[in-house]
């Protein structure tokens, strides 16, 4: 297992990710201030020594607002990936090994959730509790666990009837051993690309909702919502619109590069 051997695209992906994480975590140490205070005498300014990324239409500090929005996105990504992967893998192994009833039940639940495109489901959840980070997180995780579940279940189902597992059973090994030596080593490398694409999707989903103004509500900074807010000022201050666009695209690209490198 050459886990630490990274492909070129993974190296680029991880570097981009590292830059984004460092920026979101360290922005306030580099430039003091707060992201919410308005300064109407200093709106739509270009980047300068005082405001490194300029100010928006309320005169708010873009360097800090962008960092805050990115923090929110990263948090959403991490939470969704963790919840969805743990749930999905656990249920996937159980469905494939614990008999027909549980498998059928979970299959029914999956069919139910997959009957609606993910974004539509998230939109309805967003309508129930407008602007709630928690509800958004629940909705996205609810959709994303399925991918991990299906991959895990397919792998374990295939392996459970393989000669290797049959042989281990014949030798008297228990279920935990089967998981440790047979299932997990095959599942684990598949999880990484799923997690990378899942993180990108979670962030995109939140930004999409922000973009159509039904996601996280102002004044909290959120990437999609910033894009739609700054679009009207596109001709006066194109650099402002570019900032959330670039951060969003950078994050998604970084995830895709990490994930795709691992797939090959």
């Amino acid at each position: 297992m050459n886990r630490l051997k990274l492909s070129l695209s993974q190296k680029i992906g991880f570097s981009l990710l590292l830059v984004l994480v460092l920026y979101s975590a360290g922005a306030t140490f580099l430039q003091a201030g707060d992201s919410a205070s308005q300064n109407l005498s200093h709106i739509l300014s270009a980047p300068d020594g005082q405001f490194w990324l300029g100010t928006d239409h309320y005169g708010r500090n873009m360097w800090l607002r962008l960092a805050e929005a990115l923090q929110l996105s990263l948090m959403m990504a991490v939470l969704c990936v963790l919840t969805a992967s743990i749930t999905g893998v656990t249920l996937g192994v159980l469905a494939a090994t614990r008999g027909h009833t549980l498998d059928r039940l979970l299959d029914f639940v999956v069919t139910l959730i997959l009957a609606l495109p993910g974004l539509v489901l998230v939109l309805i959840f967003a309508a129930i509790a407008p602007g709630s980070f928690l509800v958004l997180y629940i909705a996205i995780a609810l959709i994303q666990w399925i991918e991990y579940f299906r991959v895990t279940r397919a792998i374990v189902q295939r392996l459970a009837v393989s000669p290797a597992v049959q042989s281990s059973k014949l030798m008297g090994f228990d279920n935990w051993y089967l998981f440790k030596r047979h299932y997990w080593p095959v599942i684990a490398p598949q999880l990484f690309p799923l997690a990378a694409f899942g993180a990108a999707n979670a962030v995109l989903m939140m930004a999409s909702l922000g973009f159509v103004s039904v996601g996280i509500q102002p004044p909290t900074a959120e990437l999609g919502q910033m894009i739609v807010e700054l679009f009207p000022y596109y001709s006066e201050a194109p650099w402002l619109l570019a900032q959330p666009l670039i951060v969003l695209a950078m994050f998604v690209l970084a995830c895709h590069l990490c994930g795709k490198g691992a797939e090959q």
């Binding site: 297992m1 290797a164 042989s167 014949l170 030798m171 008297g172």
Partner: protein, 462 residues
């Protein structure tokens, strides 16, 4: 006129020479067999002559076809009507979504240039001749390996090419089907020239003509079939021929050890998968220390018999009685494909130690048994992916034998191994099991192997 002449034809991957420069000639009506183990570069030779090497490889030297030098890029124009290739694994060679009848018709129509009605009539005729009349409307996934190979032969010949290159035409076929395919090829070679590439000495013997023996891209021996196969000069050729089970000496003395007590008794047993009964009315007794061969056509339930005896699959009817109270883990199985039978995630040592600590196996027994099986201690530091199939199968035997099995079902344990390794591994298996007084059921599709290794045989027929 020579149909094929090669001058110093060699194949390279980058700077590595995969096939040593080869010069050969083939004239009309001649049969040439290229014999060698898997990985000996013999398929590359066929591809280099055809001009369809993978783009990552390059070849040097010259190929003359029908008396003139033809460069690689012009050779596709000869495909089908001058020169044809029968690829390995007919199952993958036929188009998966098109009915096989149409695949033959299209060859007559577009390659031989016949009118639609005539092409159809010809295809129908040939399929009938080949005993495939009812398979016309089937797809390849609905055919057996032997049937698919016959369709592929028909397709390869339909364009009217006088020269046929057959790459491992009998790989994966049972003996009876193998002979059918060889007969078809021989019939074909009456009208032109035939180049056969095979690892199977028996096939080379049946085809006759000239034989070239290759080892790792190097030609080691060349001559008429009877000569080369009966009085081989090169050690490699000798070992290849000796490895053919027909030539094995009848096993060692331990073979006929005293038969022990009854271990398993089977009464009116019917076995099957799901709801399908494969074989019924089985009655036999297995005694300790006995080696029983199990033979039968593929898909007849040989593996299912093992799973039923080991309580992995329920019996459809009848009874399996065990006269030993040995723990469940002492009823063991060896698998056809050793690489699929162990975890690849950790080193072999870890796998071995997992088992040793689970069943408190005496660690002093490991070293002598490893020596007996010809396994280096060093090998245990690698994972299953890093060693050869023969080594891995011997590792599997090591694990199984350490458990002191009372019964061992060996399901084609040598079918993925080359002939020389097959000979060793099957001998070791039988000897080691005998020494421990373990009953063995050995499955093989090769009747000669069963005859040489087993005390008696159970034939499964549906």
């Amino acid at each position: 006129m020579n149909l094929i002449t090669t001058h110093e034809l060699a194949v390279y991957a980058g700077e590595t020479q995969l096939l040593q420069p080869m010069s050969l000639t083939l004239s009309a009506g001649e049969r040439l067999t290229i014999l060698g183990q898997t990985g000996s570069g013999k398929s590359l030779l066929a591809q280099a002559i055809m001009g369809n090497l993978p783009s990552s490889l390059r070849c040097t030297g010259q190929v003359e076809l029908f008396g003139e030098t033809v460069e690689e890029r012009f050779r596709p124009a000869l495909w089908g009507n001058k020169l044809s290739l029968l690829p390995q694994e007919p199952w993958n060679a036929l188009s998966p979504l098109m009915k096989v009848g149409n695949q033959l018709v299209e060859t007559y129509r577009w390659v031989a240039g016949q009118k639609k009605a005539q092409a159809q009539a010809n295809a129908e005729q040939v399929l009938t001749d080949y005993g495939l009349a009812s398979s016309d409307h089937k797809r390849v996934d609905e055919l057996s390996g032997g049937m698919a190979q016959r369709v592929a032969i028909a397709c390869a010949m339909a364009g009217g090419a006088p020269v046929l290159l057959a790459d491992e035409p009998t790989k994966g076929l049972d003996v009876s089907r193998r002979d059918q395919v060889v007969q078809l090829l021989l019939k074909q070679s009456d009208q032109g020239a035939l180049v056969t590439i095979t690892h199977d000495v028996a096939v080379a013997r049946q085809i006759g003509g000239r034989v070239m023996v290759m080892k790792q891209g190097v030609l080691v021996e060349d001559g008429q079939a009877e000569e080369v196969l009966n009085t081989p000069q090169h050690p490699y050729t000798q070992s290849l021929i000796e490895a053919d089970p027909v030539r094995w000496p009848k096993g060692s003395e331990t073979h006929f050890a005293e038969q022990g007590d009854a271990l398993i008794q089977v009464n009116q047993l019917a076995i099957g998968r799901g709801n399908t009964i494969l074989v019924s009315d089985l009655n036999f007794t297995v005694h300790t220390g006995e080696v029983i061969g199990v033979v039968g056509d593929s898909g007849c339930g040989k593996s299912t018999l093992g799973d039923t005896l080991l309580n992995l699959t329920p019996a459809m009817a009848g009874r399996v009685e065990r006269f030993s109270s040995a723990d469940q883990y002492r009823w063991q199985k060896l698998y056809q494909d050793p690489t699929a039978a162990v975890s690849h995630a950790v080193s072999l040592r870890t796998l071995l130690m997992d088992m040793v600590s689970l069943h408190k196996v005496d660690t002093d027994r490991i070293e002598p048994l490893m020596a007996r099986l010809g396994l280096d201690d060093d090998l245990l530091n690698r994972t299953a992916s890093q060693i050869s199939g023969g080594e891995l199968q011997r590792f599997c035997m090591l694990r199984v034998l350490l458990l002191d099995p009372v019964f061992l079902f060996a399901d084609e344990p040598t079918s993925r191994l080359d002939p020389i390794t097959t000979r060793e591994v099957s001998q070791l298996l039988v000897d080691a099991a005998k020494e421990q007084g373990c009953a063995v059921m050995l499955v093989s599709h090769d009747p000669a192997l069963i005859e040489k290794r087993c005390d008696r045989v159970i034939q499964l027929t549906t």
